[in-house]
Protein backbone atom coordinates (compact mmCIF):
# COMPACT_ATOMS: atom_id res chain seq x y z
CA UNK A 1 0.00 0.00 0.00
CA UNK A 2 1.45 3.31 -1.05
CA UNK A 3 0.31 5.28 2.00
CA UNK A 4 1.91 2.79 4.38
CA UNK A 5 5.15 2.91 2.41
CA UNK A 6 5.19 6.72 2.48
CA UNK A 7 4.42 6.76 6.18
CA UNK A 8 7.26 4.31 6.78
CA UNK A 9 9.66 6.54 4.85
CA UNK A 10 8.45 9.53 6.88
CA UNK A 11 9.07 7.74 10.18
CA UNK A 12 12.49 6.49 9.03
CA UNK A 13 13.58 9.95 7.87
CA UNK A 14 12.40 11.64 11.06
CA UNK A 15 14.07 8.98 13.22
CA UNK A 16 17.35 9.43 11.36
CA UNK A 17 17.22 13.21 11.74
CA UNK A 18 16.82 12.85 15.50
CA UNK A 19 19.44 10.11 15.82
CA UNK A 20 21.99 12.21 13.94
CA UNK A 21 21.21 15.24 16.13
CA UNK A 22 20.11 17.29 13.13
CA UNK A 23 16.78 17.92 14.88
CA UNK A 24 15.96 17.88 18.57
CA UNK A 25 12.87 17.79 20.76
CA UNK A 26 12.00 21.40 19.97
CA UNK A 27 10.89 20.25 16.49
CA UNK A 28 8.41 17.88 18.11
CA UNK A 29 7.17 20.78 20.26
CA UNK A 30 6.48 22.74 17.06
CA UNK A 31 4.60 19.79 15.56
CA UNK A 32 2.49 19.57 18.72
CA UNK A 33 1.56 23.25 18.36
CA UNK A 34 0.12 22.56 14.89
CA UNK A 35 -3.61 21.89 14.87
CA UNK A 36 -6.77 22.37 12.79
CA UNK A 37 -6.80 26.12 13.53
CA UNK A 38 -3.20 26.43 12.29
CA UNK A 39 -2.58 23.42 10.03
CA UNK A 40 0.51 24.85 8.30
CA UNK A 41 2.25 26.17 11.39
CA UNK A 42 5.42 24.05 11.15
CA UNK A 43 5.81 24.74 7.45
CA UNK A 44 5.33 28.50 8.01
CA UNK A 45 7.85 28.71 10.85
CA UNK A 46 10.41 26.64 8.96
CA UNK A 47 9.92 28.81 5.85
CA UNK A 48 10.58 31.92 7.97
CA UNK A 49 13.69 30.19 9.31
CA UNK A 50 14.94 29.49 5.77
CA UNK A 51 14.35 33.11 4.69
CA UNK A 52 16.05 34.62 7.75
CA UNK A 53 18.93 32.14 7.66
CA UNK A 54 19.80 32.82 4.06
CA UNK A 55 19.93 36.57 4.70
CA UNK A 56 22.09 36.05 7.79
CA UNK A 57 24.48 33.66 6.05
CA UNK A 58 24.88 36.03 3.10
CA UNK A 59 25.54 38.93 5.44
CA UNK A 60 28.08 36.91 7.48
CA UNK A 61 29.88 35.91 4.26
CA UNK A 62 30.01 39.53 3.17
CA UNK A 63 31.39 40.77 6.51
CA UNK A 64 33.99 38.02 6.86
CA UNK A 65 35.19 38.60 3.31
CA UNK A 66 36.87 41.77 4.54
CA UNK A 67 40.21 41.81 6.33
CA UNK A 68 38.90 44.22 8.98
CA UNK A 69 35.96 42.62 10.75
CA UNK A 70 33.57 44.08 13.31
CA UNK A 71 33.27 41.02 15.53
CA UNK A 72 30.45 42.59 17.55
CA UNK A 73 28.28 42.66 14.43
CA UNK A 74 29.27 39.10 13.49
CA UNK A 75 28.45 37.99 17.03
CA UNK A 76 25.05 39.69 16.90
CA UNK A 77 24.17 37.89 13.65
CA UNK A 78 25.40 34.53 14.98
CA UNK A 79 23.44 35.07 18.19
CA UNK A 80 20.30 35.62 16.13
CA UNK A 81 21.00 32.54 13.99
CA UNK A 82 21.63 30.45 17.10
CA UNK A 83 18.32 31.62 18.55
CA UNK A 84 16.21 30.85 15.51
CA UNK A 85 17.93 27.47 15.03
CA UNK A 86 17.12 26.56 18.62
CA UNK A 87 13.51 27.66 18.10
CA UNK A 88 12.95 25.18 15.27
CA UNK A 89 15.02 22.41 16.84
CA UNK A 90 18.02 22.58 14.48
CA UNK A 91 20.38 21.30 17.14
CA UNK A 92 23.60 20.93 15.14
CA UNK A 93 23.35 24.43 13.69
CA UNK A 94 22.84 25.77 17.21
CA UNK A 95 25.94 23.89 18.41
CA UNK A 96 28.12 25.29 15.62
CA UNK A 97 26.85 28.78 16.44
CA UNK A 98 28.10 28.36 20.01
CA UNK A 99 31.61 27.64 18.69
CA UNK A 100 31.22 30.49 16.22
CA UNK A 101 30.47 32.95 19.02
CA UNK A 102 33.62 31.83 20.87
CA UNK A 103 35.65 32.72 17.77
CA UNK A 104 33.96 36.14 17.73
CA UNK A 105 34.90 36.70 21.37
CA UNK A 106 38.52 35.88 20.50
CA UNK A 107 38.42 38.21 17.44
CA UNK A 108 39.53 35.16 15.46
CA UNK A 109 38.72 35.82 11.78
CA UNK A 110 40.06 32.47 10.53
CA UNK A 111 38.10 30.62 13.18
CA UNK A 112 34.97 32.55 12.22
CA UNK A 113 35.45 31.68 8.56
CA UNK A 114 35.79 27.98 9.43
CA UNK A 115 32.66 28.16 11.57
CA UNK A 116 30.79 29.92 8.80
CA UNK A 117 31.64 27.10 6.38
CA UNK A 118 30.50 24.54 8.92
CA UNK A 119 27.28 26.38 9.70
CA UNK A 120 26.51 26.65 5.97
CA UNK A 121 26.98 22.88 5.58
CA UNK A 122 24.73 22.15 8.56
CA UNK A 123 22.14 24.60 7.27
CA UNK A 124 22.09 22.89 3.82
CA UNK A 125 21.65 19.54 5.53
CA UNK A 126 18.71 20.76 7.64
CA UNK A 127 17.11 22.50 4.67
CA UNK A 128 17.30 19.54 2.29
CA UNK A 129 16.07 17.10 4.93
CA UNK A 130 13.15 19.27 6.01
CA UNK A 131 12.19 19.83 2.38
CA UNK A 132 12.18 16.02 1.92
CA UNK A 133 10.05 15.68 5.06
CA UNK A 134 7.51 18.24 3.87
CA UNK A 135 7.40 16.59 0.44
CA UNK A 136 6.63 13.24 2.08
CA UNK A 137 3.90 14.88 4.18
CA UNK A 138 2.25 16.26 1.04
CA UNK A 139 2.44 12.86 -0.66
CA UNK A 140 0.94 11.09 2.37
CA UNK A 141 -1.95 13.56 2.57
CA UNK A 142 -2.52 13.40 -1.20
CA UNK A 143 -2.69 9.60 -0.94
CA UNK A 144 -5.37 9.93 1.75
CA UNK A 145 -3.18 9.05 4.71
CA UNK A 146 -2.38 10.84 7.97
CA UNK A 147 0.99 12.09 9.12
CA UNK A 148 2.56 9.80 11.75
CA UNK A 149 3.14 11.58 15.08
CA UNK A 150 6.59 11.34 16.58
CA UNK A 151 7.02 11.18 20.37
Amino acid sequence: MEVAHLQRRFIDLTTTLFQQGILDNQFIQLQQLQDESNPNFVHEVVSLFFQDSEKLLNELSRILDHQIVDFKIVDAHVHQFKGSSASIGAQRIKDVCIAFRSCCEENNRDGCIRCLQQVKQEYCLVKSNLEDLFRLEKQILAAGGSIPTMQ
Binding site: Q29, L33, F41, V45, H79, Q80, G83
Partner: protein
Protein backbone atom coordinates in the same frame (compact mmCIF):
# COMPACT_ATOMS: atom_id res chain seq x y z
CA UNK B 1 -16.32 47.01 27.44
CA UNK B 2 -13.28 48.84 28.79
CA UNK B 3 -10.25 46.68 29.54
CA UNK B 4 -8.38 47.23 32.74
CA UNK B 5 -4.78 48.23 32.14
CA UNK B 6 -2.45 45.40 33.01
CA UNK B 7 -3.07 42.17 34.88
CA UNK B 8 -6.57 40.87 34.60
CA UNK B 9 -8.82 41.31 31.60
CA UNK B 10 -12.34 42.36 32.38
CA UNK B 11 -13.92 40.53 29.45
CA UNK B 12 -12.97 38.72 26.27
CA UNK B 13 -9.64 37.12 25.63
CA UNK B 14 -6.64 38.62 27.44
CA UNK B 15 -4.43 40.59 25.10
CA UNK B 16 -0.72 39.82 25.11
CA UNK B 17 1.86 41.96 23.35
CA UNK B 18 4.80 39.85 22.15
CA UNK B 19 8.01 41.67 21.21
CA UNK B 20 10.83 39.92 19.36
CA UNK B 21 13.05 40.98 16.47
CA UNK B 22 13.24 37.36 15.22
CA UNK B 23 10.39 36.49 12.85
CA UNK B 24 10.80 32.80 13.74
CA UNK B 25 10.48 33.45 17.46
CA UNK B 26 7.56 35.86 16.94
CA UNK B 27 5.70 33.14 15.04
CA UNK B 28 6.42 30.54 17.72
CA UNK B 29 5.51 32.69 20.73
CA UNK B 30 2.38 33.99 19.00
CA UNK B 31 1.23 30.46 18.26
CA UNK B 32 1.99 29.27 21.79
CA UNK B 33 -0.08 32.15 23.19
CA UNK B 34 -2.95 31.73 20.69
CA UNK B 35 -3.11 27.99 21.43
CA UNK B 36 -3.68 29.01 25.06
CA UNK B 37 -6.58 31.19 23.81
CA UNK B 38 -4.97 34.60 24.19
CA UNK B 39 -5.28 37.43 21.72
CA UNK B 40 -1.79 38.28 20.51
CA UNK B 41 -0.19 41.26 18.88
CA UNK B 42 3.38 40.54 17.83
CA UNK B 43 5.81 43.35 16.99
CA UNK B 44 9.46 43.34 16.02
CA UNK B 45 10.94 46.06 18.23
CA UNK B 46 10.69 47.92 21.52
CA UNK B 47 9.95 51.10 19.58
CA UNK B 48 6.93 49.52 17.88
CA UNK B 49 5.82 48.07 21.20
CA UNK B 50 5.76 51.55 22.78
CA UNK B 51 3.87 52.96 19.77
CA UNK B 52 1.24 50.27 20.13
CA UNK B 53 0.98 50.72 23.90
CA UNK B 54 0.32 54.41 23.29
CA UNK B 55 -2.60 53.56 21.00
CA UNK B 56 -4.16 50.47 22.56
CA UNK B 57 -5.44 50.49 26.10
CA UNK B 58 -6.20 46.82 26.44
CA UNK B 59 -2.79 45.13 26.66
CA UNK B 60 -2.84 42.79 29.66
CA UNK B 61 0.71 41.46 29.52
CA UNK B 62 3.94 42.14 27.62
CA UNK B 63 6.36 39.34 26.77
CA UNK B 64 9.59 40.58 25.26
CA UNK B 65 12.88 39.23 24.05
CA UNK B 66 15.85 40.60 25.95
CA UNK B 67 18.34 40.98 23.15
CA UNK B 68 17.03 43.23 20.37
CA UNK B 69 18.82 45.90 18.32
CA UNK B 70 18.20 49.61 19.12
CA UNK B 71 16.12 48.95 22.24
CA UNK B 72 16.69 45.89 24.37
CA UNK B 73 13.90 44.17 26.28
CA UNK B 74 15.45 45.58 29.46
CA UNK B 75 15.21 49.11 28.07
CA UNK B 76 11.61 48.48 27.06
CA UNK B 77 10.89 47.15 30.57
CA UNK B 78 12.35 50.33 32.10
CA UNK B 79 10.26 52.57 29.84
CA UNK B 80 7.09 50.65 30.76
CA UNK B 81 7.80 50.74 34.49
CA UNK B 82 8.65 54.46 34.38
CA UNK B 83 5.31 55.27 32.77
CA UNK B 84 2.35 56.00 35.03
CA UNK B 85 0.09 54.79 32.20
CA UNK B 86 1.88 51.52 31.58
CA UNK B 87 3.60 50.46 34.80
CA UNK B 88 0.78 48.15 35.94
CA UNK B 89 1.20 45.91 32.90
CA UNK B 90 3.14 42.75 33.82
CA UNK B 91 6.30 42.37 31.74
CA UNK B 92 8.03 39.06 31.13
CA UNK B 93 11.49 38.85 29.60
CA UNK B 94 12.65 36.01 27.31
CA UNK B 95 16.24 35.18 26.49
CA UNK B 96 18.16 32.36 24.86
CA UNK B 97 20.98 32.92 27.38
CA UNK B 98 20.96 32.05 31.05
CA UNK B 99 22.92 35.00 32.45
CA UNK B 100 22.28 35.41 36.20
CA UNK B 101 23.21 39.14 36.27
CA UNK B 102 20.83 39.81 33.42
CA UNK B 103 18.02 37.93 35.11
CA UNK B 104 18.43 39.72 38.46
CA UNK B 105 18.71 43.11 36.74
CA UNK B 106 15.41 42.54 34.95
CA UNK B 107 13.63 41.27 38.05
CA UNK B 108 14.93 44.25 40.07
CA UNK B 109 13.61 46.58 37.40
CA UNK B 110 10.14 45.06 37.82
CA UNK B 111 9.94 42.15 35.38
CA UNK B 112 7.53 39.53 36.62
CA UNK B 113 9.47 36.60 35.25
CA UNK B 114 12.37 35.63 33.03
CA UNK B 115 11.96 32.75 30.58
CA UNK B 116 14.63 30.84 28.71
CA UNK B 117 14.00 30.34 25.03
CA UNK B 118 12.71 28.35 23.28
CA UNK B 119 9.48 29.06 25.14
CA UNK B 120 7.24 26.07 25.87
CA UNK B 121 3.46 26.02 26.24
CA UNK B 122 3.91 25.07 29.91
CA UNK B 123 5.88 28.34 30.47
CA UNK B 124 3.02 30.33 29.01
CA UNK B 125 0.33 28.47 30.99
CA UNK B 126 2.23 29.09 34.20
CA UNK B 127 2.65 32.79 33.50
CA UNK B 128 -0.79 33.47 32.25
CA UNK B 129 -2.46 31.73 35.17
CA UNK B 130 -0.53 34.11 37.44
CA UNK B 131 -1.25 37.31 35.56
CA UNK B 132 -4.23 36.79 33.32
CA UNK B 133 -7.73 35.43 33.75
Amino acid sequence: MAMERGCKSTGGEPHVLAVDDSSVDRAVIANVLRSSKYRVTAVDSGKRALELLGLERDVNMIITDYWMPEMTGYELLKRVKESSELKQIPVVIMSSENVPNRISRCLEEGAEDFLLKPIQPSDVSRLCSRFLR
